[in-house]
């Protein structure tokens, strides 16, 4: 008799559980949400294959009062100093940051301002910048000639017509050649890391692993411990 009661309880119990499960499946009162990070906003202009700056072409020209002027159109008329005693009076958009190389005529020719000057007074056009830079940056010039330094786009095949080698001034501002520091594009999302404190650090620094990294730095690894 007890067995029969037990059987009944189990039978109805299973039925009830199945029915409840069926109801849960169908009406889904508990929404299981799967957190998905928002898509990130990326400056697409930074992703293309084009030089990061516009190099001076040959013959060079600059815009003066909305006119494109060749250097010699002014410099043939006006005498300008061969040294730079009190800084630049013209061309004052130029920001100088080239180490000890602060003299204009280390690179520009004194007489022909639309030419660049090599050692010994020989001049080259603005399209032969690598030769000029190679005066001081010998190893870098050698690497550039071999394709080690610099950037090649279009094709990896030598002789392919799509292949394009960037020259020094396609990437470096000749007056301030060092790259500026910049904000990096977004990193991987951290949505599944330490909710509340992980993704956005209070000081704006995106380093959710900092506490572990610092811990390791302070105490070393477990296997560093003396035996």
């Amino acid at each position: 008799m007890r067995n029969r009661v037990l059987e009944n309880v189990i039978g109805w119990g299973i039925s009830a559980v199945l029915l409840i499960l069926a109801a849960l499946f169908l009406w889904a009162p508990i929404q299981v949400s799967n957190p998905v990070p928002e898509p990130v906003d990326v400056d697409r202009a930074r992703l293309g294959a084009r030089p990061i700056r516009v190099a001076m072409h040959d013959p060079p020209s600059i815009e003066v009062a909305t006119f494109d002027m060749n250097c010699m159109e002014c410099h043939a008329l006006f005498e300008s100093g061969k040294m730079m005693p009190g800084g630049l009076q013209r061309h004052n958009d130029i920001e100088m940051g080239h180490g000890i190389n602060t003299n204009c005529f280390n690179c520009h020719d004194v007489e022909r301002r639309d030419r660049l000057v090599l050692e010994g007074g020989e001049t080259v056009g603005f399209n032969q910048v690598p030769q000029l830079c190679g005066k001081c940056h010998g190893p870098t010039w050698r690497d550039w000639q071999q394709g080690i330094h610099g950037k090649t786009v279009g094709s990896w095949r030598g002789g392919d017509e799509r292949q394009q080698r960037y020259t020094c001034t396609d990437c470096h501002d000749p007056h301030t050649p060092a790259f500026k520091r910049g904000t990096p594009l977004p990193g991987p999302n951290t949505i599944r890391m330490t909710p509340g404190e992980g993704p956005h650090h209070d000081d704006g620094v995106h380093r959710p692993l900092a506490q572990w990294i610092n811990q390791i730095a302070e105490h070393g690894h477990d296997d560093d411990a003396p035996p």
Binding site: L19, T152, F179, P184
Partner: protein, 335 residues
Amino acid sequence: MRLPVLRQDDAGGGCGGCPPQDAPDSRRSFLRSTVAVGAGFAALGAALSPLADLDTDKVFAGEDFFREHYKELTAEDKARLFADIEAQIDREYGVQATVGDPRPLPGVEFVYALNLSRCDGNRACVHACVKENNQSREPEIQYIRVLEMPIGTFELERGNQYYSEKTPRPGHFYMPIQCHQCANPPCVKVCPVEATWQEADGITVVDYDWCIGCRYCQAACPYWARRFNWTDPEIPSDEINPDMAYLSNRPRSRGVMEKCTFCLQRTRKGRMPACLEACPTGARKFGNILDPGSEVSQILREKRVFVLKEEVGTRPRFFYYFDELSSRTTEGVAS
């Protein structure tokens, strides 16, 4: 053989053979089993109810179910299959894509070289890759991880891949890591269904329709190079790259692995990988190692290159090197 014989009980009456003392029990047990079976069917129906909302484009049905492995497809199979995929992309995204199948070029073995002295951690490569290879944007899948590490150390576990401050941060260097296209790839060895393999030009590819999503390859890869689609990939229609290849950047589905393929849809047609072209510092170099005049051959001859985790014996085709720092920046990176 004895057959079971129904016991006739003459002592009872009423229902023509039924034992009277069992009658209430029979009714009860009949009711009980009816309810149980009903509940069972209801539960089954409920469990199957998501099928009603199933997107037929996302399931293998009919012909798809019997599709051969990529290596067993004939030219006609491929033509039909690629046309199907193009039609599906058109339905889903409204984009006229071309799905091609560029094969490895004879006499070409691709190698990557990366100058750690030049990389400034700007992550342009990461996002150029996402755009070129039609990775999911929501959640975003990135093939390239850039580790920020203190100069003078080389502990990957102390590297921070989530940095967001201005780069290069003083006293730090940056190490981008992506698929190394190993010559001895552990990911290929562990795949239980041969859905991933190494091709003649050294690129390891995945047949997304053969992958069962077990993620063994992800566990086997020492370079953290493989990604899993936990959800249906979401890509805005206007961001789809229509130049696709079957083994690389065609849209993937939920539950499959994906990885960097050195942009084979570009590189097998002579072009450069997207990450290289986006790199503003020229830290990335790519080419054919079998051509002694190529940039990467020059680098391997001239520079002291190294591979990551050499001791695990994977023989990567991805080389790192350091260079002189002098002309890199005057803003005190090394300070």
